[in-house]
Symmetry: C2
Subunit: 444 residues, 2 copies
């Protein structure tokens, strides 16, 4: 453990170091704040950061330890939150002037779980406008002329820049996997229904999903154990025991996992570097990987996703539309206008396709452990837009778990994402397969 | 137990009689078939009835007993099914020529539960067109010039005529409570999410609800215990233990129950006899009953119900519309046309009102055990239409449990319904309160 660079510790190592008395939460949070002071001018990852409040939380967690109070798995570890996740003690402004200064007066369900696990809520990270497409101020830590991706822009950038070991984001289309790919960090979007969305800006009941960013797989699993669970305030959360993420991740797969390199009809939109990188991964995997063309059978899925997303956005952002339509970006205005014109008939037909698609992929998972696919068409494009979610849309629609592995680089050395997608509800197996894959590629 | 009139036994007494060896299932089914032969010409309750097949089932159940095989709580007891409930061994024609001769090739979830409980599936009862408004052939057993109500027309009439002790129906607006009221039998529509709709014609995911008919409250509770339970094929069924219907019904309430005589904005649509009858009930109940005007706060609920019902019907009956629109009644064509024009925005807004309404009524149930309200504007109107569901719409929208008590009569001696409505999810308490009320009114 490199004690001179606490800010680069993983969350698991940081929690262990605090438990072992090697350092305390205040020192850890100080190191993160110092790193933020150094890099925030360029990266602009934070929407709200109150150093004194963060340090006060850290000291309270240190007092817990000294005074023998119960501690949790993230005790004393700082976590950043996308600024659409409600917090009792900080504003939540949703990336729009319409919500400037908004105090939610409550903690989101995931925030309550983080606090119960002992986490220090470091601050709120920059989101695009209402978690949709119009970019915020954040720049890519690897190249400030590039986008960090969106909509969880600040959350991905903050982890990549060593400002904080863990952040939460959300994904409705590609808002976790894409920024994770562009910023070169692990990003995880679990199966729909595992994590409560209570207290988080609603854009789409069907598609909105909490996700998170970290610098290694163990931290992804650690946070999964903290965040997953039924919540009666989000009736779409499933009433089942949470998957045993950490135990599964610690296991070797019973057999070497098999990967389906799935080429959707969007495959040609990936750039040449991405085509080449995926081919190299497939070559390393040899007989453990099989190319799979899902082709025309799923081509309409992108339309179904748009129908559902825009119709549900029109409903959930109806108050903003009514109150301050002129304060919204023109692209969002156009989206909402289209959403208002969707018929209930088309909306229901699109909804009805989801279980059919999931059933089709379930069959694939009888032969394969995970789907291998790009996370984005290429590395991060220039600032101005947040990149194309086209390689995430299908998995968001299906509510399948998706993971970005930051293992690839473009010729100019910018990160390129490799996306692994698992069977819906089989999140822990996805993480176990991912660990195996990471080791294979790092050994190659 | 009057052994000369087996067809008029309750299901509970019939099952007990078979268990005690007083008669066998074949004798019971023979008695029901004989009653059907006598009355079916006038009542026309059945869409499909195969005497030989019914008797074969009865003999098989009798053989179970003789040969020591497991028996269930309805062992040997005949049950009729609305002809939109799929059965492996009989056609299910959904009240439309478009589905003439349709063999579903499966048992609905409720049918599988009935068979597991030992029931004899006697046959399929007449439904209105696709469980909507256009009347079938059935006539009211109390007066063949009157409607039996709909859409579960044959199910209500068959129980009223002594043809069978139990039948299943469904309610999307007023299709169980209304025919129960017009035919003078007990009818129960449980809370939404208690009974699986797998294998039943879908018209509205939000509103469709299985219900049933019997000649006493114990049979209502007995069937509830058989039918309630989670089914992963109907993801709207709740994952909770079923209410203890029979145990609750056997208990005295800890305090005399309190009834809220709720007058909705539809109250003026009830006829003078209904106004008078409700006032008499309130008088008998004295201080246990309080009049309650929910007034304008719920007036829009009937519009929200129509928006949801018509939008979901347009989706679920899209194949029928496409394939044979000209074979549908003109009123159904108009409904479907309106449903196709509903926007996804209005549809979602209407959906979002439901939990708000339920929360409002939940407050009422902190002071009251049940809501007292008419089941219909009056007694059964003349044949031709199936009567007005206006006194059921609000409770169907809210997914609250509703019960018709056949305790009132119009001056011309036709049955008039008294509807009791319970807190959503508190179905067993509703039955217990109902038993108390029945005793009070019968003693008065």
């Amino acid at each position: 453990m490199d004690m001179t660079r606490l800010e680069w510790l993983s969350a698991g190592d940081a929690a262990q170091g605090i438990r072992d008395g090697l350092f305390d939460s205040e020192q850890l949070v100080q190191a993160c704040l110092e790193r933020i002071r150094q890099t925030e001018g360029e990266v602009q990852a934070w929407q709200h950061l109150d150093e004194a409040h963060a340090l006060a939380q850290a000291r309270a967690r240190d007092a817990d330890r000294r005074e023998g109070r119960p501690t949790g798995p993230l005790h004393g570890v700082p976590v950043g939150l996308k600024d659409i996740i409600d917090t009792l003690d900080m504003p939540t402004e949703d990336g729009t002037v319409l919500h400037a200064g908004r105090m939610a007066g409550r903690d989101a369900a995931v925030v309550a779980r983080l606090r119960a696990a002992g986490a220090v809520i470091l601050g709120k990270t920059v989101t695009t406008e209402l978690a949709t497409y119009a970019a915020g101020k954040t720049r890519n830590p690897h190249d400030p002329s590039r986008t960090p991706g969106g909509s969880s822009s600040g959350s991905a950038a903050a982890v990549a820049a060593g400002m904080v070991p863990l952040t939460l984001g959300t994904q409705t289309n590609g808002s976790v996997i894409r920024p994770a790919a562009f910023c070169g960090v692990y990003g995880f979007k679990p199966s729909q229904g595992l994590v409560s969305r209570h207290g988080i800006l609603k854009t789409s009941r069907t598609l909105d999903c909490v996700g998170w960013f970290a610098r290694n797989l163990d931290d992804i699993a650690l946070l999964a154990e903290v965040l997953c669970g039924h919540d009666e305030r989000d009736t779409d959360t499933r009433v089942q025991a949470s998957p045993p993420f950490l135990r599964m991740l610690a296991q070797e797969p019973p057999l070497p996992p098999r990967f389906a390199w799935v080429k959707t009809p969007m495959w040609p939109q990936a750039d040449a570097d991405t085509h080449e990188a995926l081919a190299e991964v497939a070559e390393v995997l040899g007989t453990q990987c099989e190319s799979f063309d899902v082709g025309e059978s799923v081509r309409a899925a992108w339309d179904w996703h748009r129908t559902i997303m825009e119709a549900e956005m029109a409903f959930n952002l109806d108050a903003e539309w009514t109150r301050g339509r002129d304060k919204l970006s023109s692209s969002l205005q156009q989206q909402l206008q289209r959403g208002r014109e969707v018929s209930a008939l088309d909306y229901q037909h699109a909804q009805a396709r989801i279980p059919q698609l999931v059933d089709g992929f379930d069959e694939l998972f009888e032969r394969f452990d995970a789907i291998l696919t790009p996370a984005a068409p290429g590395s991060a494009p220039p600032l101005g837009n947040t990149g194309d979610p086209v390689f995430c849309t299908l998995w968001s629609l299906c509510g399948m778990p998706a993971l970005n592995l930051p293992l690839l680089h473009a010729p100019d050395n910018l990160p390129m994402g490799l996306q692994l997608v698992g069977r819906r509800g089989d999140d822990a197996r996805l993480l176990r397969s991912a660990r195996w894959l990471v080791r294979q590629l790092q050994a190659a």
